[in-house]
């Protein structure tokens, strides 16, 4: 499997655009076919067939991210797509590629920004480019949704504490009247400055056969 004899031109174009190797693309294509039950596109319901995804507290957001047209799929109109094809699937996956040693500073920087933008869009539910306190609280609610014993208030306190911290990083000198709307993308970058996102946000894409099953 994974033969490189007949590399169709679309595949090559895909490879160039997303940066995957052809073996990886084949592998992902196989997975795509599995998920879509051999159709051409995947719908939201198809993600429900993955057993392990059930335990994930933020699965709704993840699935949502796959279907978000404007920001993640880089297509023109905003809103959610009904179904995605393989190319879109690959586009989303390409955000999780690991960095390569031979990337120069500029490419590394843009790569990093892309990853962080993807992450930012996952937090920002209403697409306005700012993560407000309410959105942050929602994220926390989802993260902790696996713990039914939790008090809502503690989550609120945590969200506020986190926003305070973010605000103090991004706007160190504010008078009591200035309002800090929320975390913009630049602020987001600042918060993440200390953490090397490029070394953390990646998934190993295999070139060999080892796929899990779904129902």
């Amino acid at each position: 499997m994974g033969s490189a004899q007949s590399v169709p031109p679309e595949m090559r174009a895909l490879a160039e655009r997303t940066g995957f190797t052809s073996e990886q693309i084949e592998q992902l294509h196989r997975r795509f076919k599995q998920l879509s039950h051999n159709r051409k596109t995947i719908r939201k319901e198809d993600f429900d067939t993955i057993p392990d995804l059930e335990f994930n507290p933020i699965r709704a957001r993840i699935v949502h991210a796959f279907f978000d047209k404007r920001r993640n799929l880089r297509k023109a109109p905003a809103g959610l797509a009904e179904e995605i094809n393989f190319e879109d699937f690959l586009t989303i996956m390409s955000y999780f590629r690991p960095i390569e040693m031979d990337m120069d500073e500029e490419r590394l920087e843009s790569f990093r920004k892309e990853k962080l933008k993807f992450l930012f869009h996952m937090y920002d539910a209403d697409y306005d480019g700012i993560i407000t306190l309410q959105e942050y609280k929602d994220v926390l609610d989802e993260l902790m949704s696996g713990n039914p014993h939790l008090e809502k208030e503690s989550l609120r306190a945590i969200a506020e504490g986190a926003m305070l911290e973010a605000a103090s990083v991004c706007m160190p000198r504010t008078g009591p009247d200035e309002v800090y709307e929320g975390i913009t993308f630049e602020d987001f970058l600042k918060v993440w400055k200390g953490i090397d996102i490029e070394t953390k946000m990646h998934v190993r894409f295999l070139t060999m056969e080892a796929i899990a099953h779904c129902y």
Binding site: F47, M101, E153, G161, M201, A212
Partner: protein, 688 residues
């Protein structure tokens, strides 16, 4: 003088001190003591390893475990055989009385000296603040290669006594490696679980909680060493396993105690080890053989460099974040040898190894070289090569949230890809942990507390304590300073608006009241009876008076420094801490009958009340009209320890506080709205 410490690492200075001391002793005519192996392995080494294991950054360690294992196992094996083999060749060729050293003796020598030493690595790497990845790689390697060293050492020592070494022996030796390492880990895990389980029941005997951590770990070490398993791995395993559960169970003070004791012991041990190294150098019998020593040194370095290069080339095929040549250089350069090699050699007995003195000399030379030359030059080299240094960022709540989010995200993506990767298994382990293990090992409510909440509480505690300790004169932690809730959500719940601006002296009064309670608690802790933890009333009164005088003097220099902004809702701990931190004088109120009573308990992570507290705020600060009952109930809380009547922590605040201040007090003070007016009379006689 500080410039010396910038250039020379502490370990070098300590060895020099040892040399001087040894020289002094010798000059006087006495025999200087030598670092006996017993003392070293039983008393000096365990604290350092326990300190390292207990505070091991688990996340980075597990992420790089494959790399670390390959360096530790394959790297050490390579070093040992390469060095041993080459030394044998040198011995055969070199003439000059070296011919009698057999192959096995040389291999033994190789195995002793090839292991990277955790003590030396810690001592040097701590000071250069290198980035976490490199630190954990070299350090992890130095810890895990103990298993290899133990196996090889015992193996060759045994074989040296055999007439013939058969293939069976070699195969058995190979298998014993697995037994030693996995057995050591297994012993450590068992003791770790026992310790975690024990800590579940220690809520009534907080005083001896730290003892369990130390004792069980030490027992793990001894048990492993007893059976010739790897004691170091047992120690590390027990520390790693017990830590999350023990920390959830023990009190904050115990946690601090453990931390400081471990740091103290490991510091002392390290110092002693290096000094003893110096003294032993002077004291020991040496046999200097140029060929042997110089070739040892040379081959050590070459072996290390070659080993790292080859292994990294192999490892980089599997790593996502590759190791750059700079990283490889630091890893190779950081392969320091230390006291473990010395002690292992010292253990050899003379009968079978009559060239022990020569070995010792060579080992000491290598140790000196690595510690002095490599230790001193690594810092300028790090600067020169612009190796990434450790980020000095504090762990923030944002980071924690993002990290968790990212974890789940990556696990989700892995599931979608259908690829059972690193995140998938980690997630599975976490779920297993949450479902079964935590229930057994963590007491009570804490077992259900998710990690984020625990982390947040810990941070709150830390900030609160920082504030209190800084005593109002120090810097305010940045999160509170410039930005307030107002800034981030001005159009908040009407709840916020309820508190009107208080007049200045009302504020003063309130603060005085609350602060005094904090003082009282401190005083109570001073008169500590370990069985009953009850304060002595007369001593209390006396101390109170002294303190009062002191505070009066102190107040003159103090201004109220924190204004309480009118519409601010703080996290309860922060507000508690804020208020508790400026000391003002205590003035007893003249009219003391029929007043509500406050008892305050400073924040503690155990009290389930601290979780309930957030519920209090909206209730108490809601826009309710003050009912008469509310006025009377107002400020009573439950004390944490059901103390016997007539003890401390009882205090009477001023009268006639306006409903708003009552409400604010309610908001800002500790949980527990229950009223207990009988709880005690004002225990300080008035007007004294």
């Amino acid at each position: 003088m500080s410039s010396v410490s910038k250039v020379v690492p502490e370990s070098c200075l300590l060895i020099v001190v040892g040399l001087l001391v040894g020289g002094l002793i010798k000059a006087v005519g006495e025999k200087p003591p030598i670092l006996k192996s017993d003392i070293f392995f039983l008393f000096l080494l365990p604290p350092i390893i326990l300190d390292a294991g207990y505070f091991l950054p688990l996340r980075q360690f597990t992420e790089n475990l494959g790399t670390i294992l390959i360096f530790a196992v394959v790297g050490t094996l390579w070093n040992a055989f390469f060095l041993g083999g080459l030394m044998y060749a040198v011995c055969q060729i070199g003439g000059s009385g070296l011919n009698h050293i057999g192959l096995l003796a040389n291999l033994l020598f190789g195995s002793i000296i090839s292991a990277v030493d955790p003590v030396a690595v810690l001592a040097v790497f701590e000071e250069i603040h290198i980035n976490e990845l490199l630190h954990i790689l070299v350090f992890g390697e130095s810890l895990l290669n103990d298993a290899v060293t133990v196996v090889l050492y015992h193996l060759f020592e045994e074989f040296a006594n055999f007439e013939q070494v058969t293939i069976i022996d070699i195969i058995l030796g190979f298998l014993s490696f697995f037994v030693v390492s996995l057995g050591g880990v297994f012993v450590g895990v068992i003791y770790g679980l026992i310790a975690a389980f024990t800590s579940r029941f220690t809520s009534n005997i907080r005083v001896i909680e730290p003892l369990f951590v130390f004792l069980y770990s030490y027992m793990a070490y001894l048990s492993a060493e007893l059976f010739h398993l790897s004691g170091i791995m047992a120690l590390i395993a027990s520390g790693v396993v017990m830590r999350p559960y023990v920390e959830a169970n023990i009190s904050h003070k115990s946690h601090t105690t453990i931390k400081y004791f471990l740091k103290m012991w490991s510091s002392v041990s390290e110092t002693l080890i290096f000094i003893f190294l110096g003294v032993s150098t002077v004291a020991g019998q040496h046999y200097w053989n140029w060929t042997f020593v110089i070739s040892t040194l040379l081959f050590c370095l070459i072996a290390r460099v070659l080993g790292v290069l080859v292994l990294t080339w192999f490892i980089n095929k599997f790593r996502i974040v590759k190791l750059t040549p700079k990283d490889q250089f630091i890893i190779a350069y950081g392969g320091l040898r230390g006291a473990i090699a010395f002690s292992l050699c010292y253990l050899l007995d003379y009968e079978h190894f009559n060239m022990r003195d020569m070995f010792l000399t060579a080992i000491i030379t290598v140790i000196f070289f690595t510690v002095f030359v490599q230790g001193m030059t690594i810092r300028p080299l790090v600067d020169l090569l612009a190796v990434k240094k450790k980020q000095e960022t504090k762990r923030s709540i944002n980071e924690e949230i993002h990290t968790q989010f990212l974890d789940h995200l990556l696990t989700g993506i892995e599931d979608i890809c259908g690829h059972y990767g690193h995140h998938h298994w980690k997630d599975k382990l976490n779920r297993f942990n949450k479902k079964y293990v935590k229930k057994c090992l963590i007491a009570g409510e804490r077992s259900k507390e998710p990690q984020l909440i625990a982390f947040y509480h810990k941070m709150e505690m830390k900030q609160a304590i920082e504030l209190v300790e800084s005593g109002g004169l120090g810097k305010i932690p940045s999160t509170i300073s410039a930005v307030s809730i107002q800034n981030i959500s001005p159009k908040t719940l009407p709840v916020a608006r309820v508190l009107p601006a208080l007049s200045k002296d009302k504020e003063e009064e309130i603060r005085k009241i609350l602060r005094n309670n904090l003082q009282k608690t401190r005083q109570r802790l001073r008169s500590y009876n370990r069985h009953t933890l009850v304060a002595d009333p007369y001593e209390e009164a006396w101390n109170q008076m002294l303190l009062r005088r002191q505070k009066i003097r102190h107040t003159d220099r103090q201004n109220a420094y924190l204004t309480v902004p009118a519409n601010k809702i703080d996290s309860p701990t922060m507000s508690r801490a804020r208020i508790g931190s400026d000391p003002l004088a205590y003035e007893p109120k003249p009219d003391s009958e029929n007043l509500p009573i406050i008892t305050i308990d400073p924040a503690s992570p155990q009290s389930p009340e601290s979780m309930e507290l957030p519920n209090e705020i909206p209730k108490g600060c809601g826009g309710l009209p003050p009912s008469p009952e509310e006025d009377e109930e107002g400020l009573v809380m439950r004390a944490k320890e059901p103390s016997s009547p007539g003890t401390d922590d009882v205090f009477t605040p001023g009268t006639g506080d306006s409903p708003s201040s009552q409400r604010m007090l309610r908001c800002l003070s500790d949980p527990g709205p229950r009223q207990e007016p009988e709880e005690g009379e004002p225990f300080i006689p008035k007007g004294q």
